[in-house]
Structure formats: structure tokens, C-alpha cells
């Protein structure tokens, strides 16, 4: 039909996902200070990217699907960024 799926690749991706999970859990026992969250979320984002690109076939999908996926992320970004802007700037410009 539109694209052929590749089972071998799936297994490789799965192994990568397991490795990243082990890394993220293992790193909990290491004190990274302020970087702790950023590292955790970056690893999560990497895992998510693997799933979205390969398991969900985004890599081989038409551009309209890319637009939808990126739009969803963009809108989530609007919600988070503008809301957090309020809280982050409460102490600015007070009268």
C-alpha cells in the first residue's frame, strides 16, 4: 500500500529504547544537580522520537502527516510557553 513496514528495524529500535530506559533509570542515582530534569526529559524525547519516527512510520509518511504532528507539538508549546511566561514574570514590572 503506502509503505512497507520493516520488522528488523523495529527490533533494533526496541533495543535502543530499552537501553535508553536503563540509562534514564540509572541516572536517577547520580546527582546531576540542575541538569537532572533536562537529561531525563531529553532521554524521554529521544525515546519518543524513535517511537514516532519508526513505530508510527512518521519517517515514511506524507508531508501532511508531518504538518499535523508538528502542529500538535507547536500548539502544546503555545500552551506551555505563554502560561509559564505569566508565572515566570510575576515579579517583573511591579508597581
Amino acid at each position: 500500500m503506502s509503505h512497507m513496514t520493516q520488522p528488523d528495524r523495529y527490533v533494533l529500535v526496541f533495543l535502543a529504547l530499552l537501553a535508553l530506559t536503563a540509562a534514564t533509570v540509572g541516572l536517577t542515582y547520580v546527582d546531576l544537580g540542575a541538569w537532572h530534569s533536562i537529561v531525563g526529559l531529553t532521554i524521554a524525547a529521544a525515546k519518543a522520537l524513535l517511537i514516532v519516527l519508526f513505530f508510527m512510520h512518521l519517517f515514511r509518511s506524507k508531508s501532511v502527516i508531518w504538518v499535523i504532528a508538528l502542529s500538535g507539538l507547536f500548539w502544546l508549546g503555545i500552551l506551555l510557553i505563554l502560561t509559564l511566561t505569566d508565572y515566570a514574570t510575576r515579579s517583573w514590572l511591579t508597581y
Binding site: M1, S2, M4, T5, Q6, P7, Y10, V11, F14, L17, L18, T21, T24, V25, L27, T28, Y29, V30, D31, L32, H36, S37, G40, L41, I43, A44, K47, A48, I51, V52, F54, F55, M56, S61, K62, V64, I65, I68, A69, S71, G72, L73, W75, L76, L79, L80, T83, L84, Y87, A88
Partner: protein, 221 residues
């Protein structure tokens, strides 16, 4: 997915259009789902920025082994799901049926483990309103407000709860697909429901992948 005869609905020109429409529709739906969870993420972000100590303390109280094992379970289910879609696409009915069934099983395993985890949380006084005790949190270093720890736990239960509801829906979906596949409903020309079921399943997995660091891994243990 019309009744008995044709697998092509009357308002589509051909199977390819029908398939593309289904995939497009599910991706659009997933964008909306992202926004549902997004509202929770926004609330979480606001309060975590304001009460970092309490969120970290609450996070440490959660059982990371449950979290980690469940992550592996869900990732495995994503693998079986992807293999199931492949099986359907190449017309290997037995592979598809087995993989779909395994996916549903693994999803159920996740929920069972989660059930044990919730029970453990209850036993350890981590359920506000039911078994939470302010005393457990006073007198700690760094100083934490029990009220704010409750807020963290609220997000923990709401986010994992909403995720669990979505997973349950996914399990039902997978079960139905398994039965239909076993009955020979799908062909290499018509397997759209399995592919969109897969997209949904992977999305639920991705949500969990973010819940893991946000809830269980806030600070060092």
C-alpha cells in the same frame, strides 16, 4: 469497515483513499489527545516551578521499580504492535493475530502492575484523602509543606490515571482487532483499523515515556 460485503465504504473511490483517510484521521485525533494531556502538563509545570522541593520529595517516595518495569512492559507492547501491523500488511494472519493479542496482554500486564503499585502507594500513606499523613512529611530536610506534596501526588494520580484510562481503551481496541483479525477480516488491501490502532497505542506509550521522568525521576535518589 462496512458490514458484510465490501471492505470499501461507498463514499471512497478506492482502498488507498480509505486507508489514507483513516491514518490521517488518527493522526489528527492524536494531536487533540496531545492537548488533553498538555493541559495536565501545563498545570504540572506551573506547580513544579513553584514548589520544586515538594515535587522532588514526592517523586522520591514513588516506587521506581514499578515505574521502570512498567516502562519496559509498555515498550515491549509497542514492539509487538508494530510487528502486528507488519503482519497484517503482508497478509500473515497468524502473525497479526498473535502480535495483537500479545499487545493487549502486555497492556493488561501494565495495568495489573499499576494496580499493585497503587496499592503499595496506599499502604505507604501516599494517597491524599485516604491514607496520607501530614506527619510523615514534617521535620524533613529540606523543609517541605505537606499540602504541596499532596498537590504533587494529585498530579501523579491524575496523569497516570488518565493515561491508564487511555490504555484501557487501547486494550479494548486491541482485543476487538484481535478477534476481527482471527476471523480473517483484514487483508493486505484492508488493514487500516490495525494501523490506526497501532498509532493510538504508540501514542499512549509515548505519553508514558514522559510521565516517567516527570513523576518518578524528578530528583536524584
Amino acid at each position: 469497515m462496512s458490514a458484510n460485503h465490501s471492505s470499501l465504504a461507498h463514499h471512497f473511490a478506492d482502498h488507498e483513499q480509505q486507508h489514507e483517510v483513516a491514518v490521517l484521521g488518527m493522526w489528527v485525533f492524536l494531536a487533540t489527545e496531545l492537548m488533553v494531556f498538555g493541559a495536565l502538563f501545563a498545570g504540572y509545570a506551573v506547580y513544579r516551578a513553584q514548589y520544586p522541593a515538594e515535587f522532588a520529595a514526592g517523586s522520591r517516595a514513588l516506587n521506581i521499580w514499578f515505574g521502570g518495569i512498567n516502562t519496559v512492559v509498555l515498550l515491549s507492547s509497542s514492539l509487538t504492535m508494530a510487528l502486528g501491523v507488519h503482519g497484517a500488511q503482508v497478509g500473515r494472519r497468524n502473525v497479526a493475530v498473535m502480535c495483537l493479542a500479545l499487545t493487549a496482554l502486555l497492556g493488561t500486564a501494565f495495568l495489573v502492575i499499576k494496580g499493585f503499585e497503587y496499592h503499595g502507594d496506599y499502604v505507604e500513606h501516599l494517597v491524599p484523602g485516604l491514607s496520607f499523613s501530614d506527619q510523615d512529611w514534617l521535620g524533613r530536610e529540606p523543609h517541605v509543606h505537606p499540602e504541596k506534596v499532596k498537590l504533587f501526588l494529585f498530579f501523579y494520580y491524575t496523569m497516570t490515571g488518565l493515561h491508564g484510562v487511555h490504555l484501557l481503551i487501547g486494550i479494548v481496541f486491541m482485543t476487538v482487532l484481535t478477534i476481527l483479525a482471527w476471523r480473517g477480516r483484514f487483508t493486505p488491501q484492508y488493514y487500516g483499523p490495525i494501523e490506526v490502532g497501532g498509532l493510538y497505542w504508540h501514542f499512549v506509550d509515548v505519553v508514558w515515556l514522559f510521565l516517567l521522568p516527570l513523576l518518578y525521576l524528578i530528583g536524584p535518589r
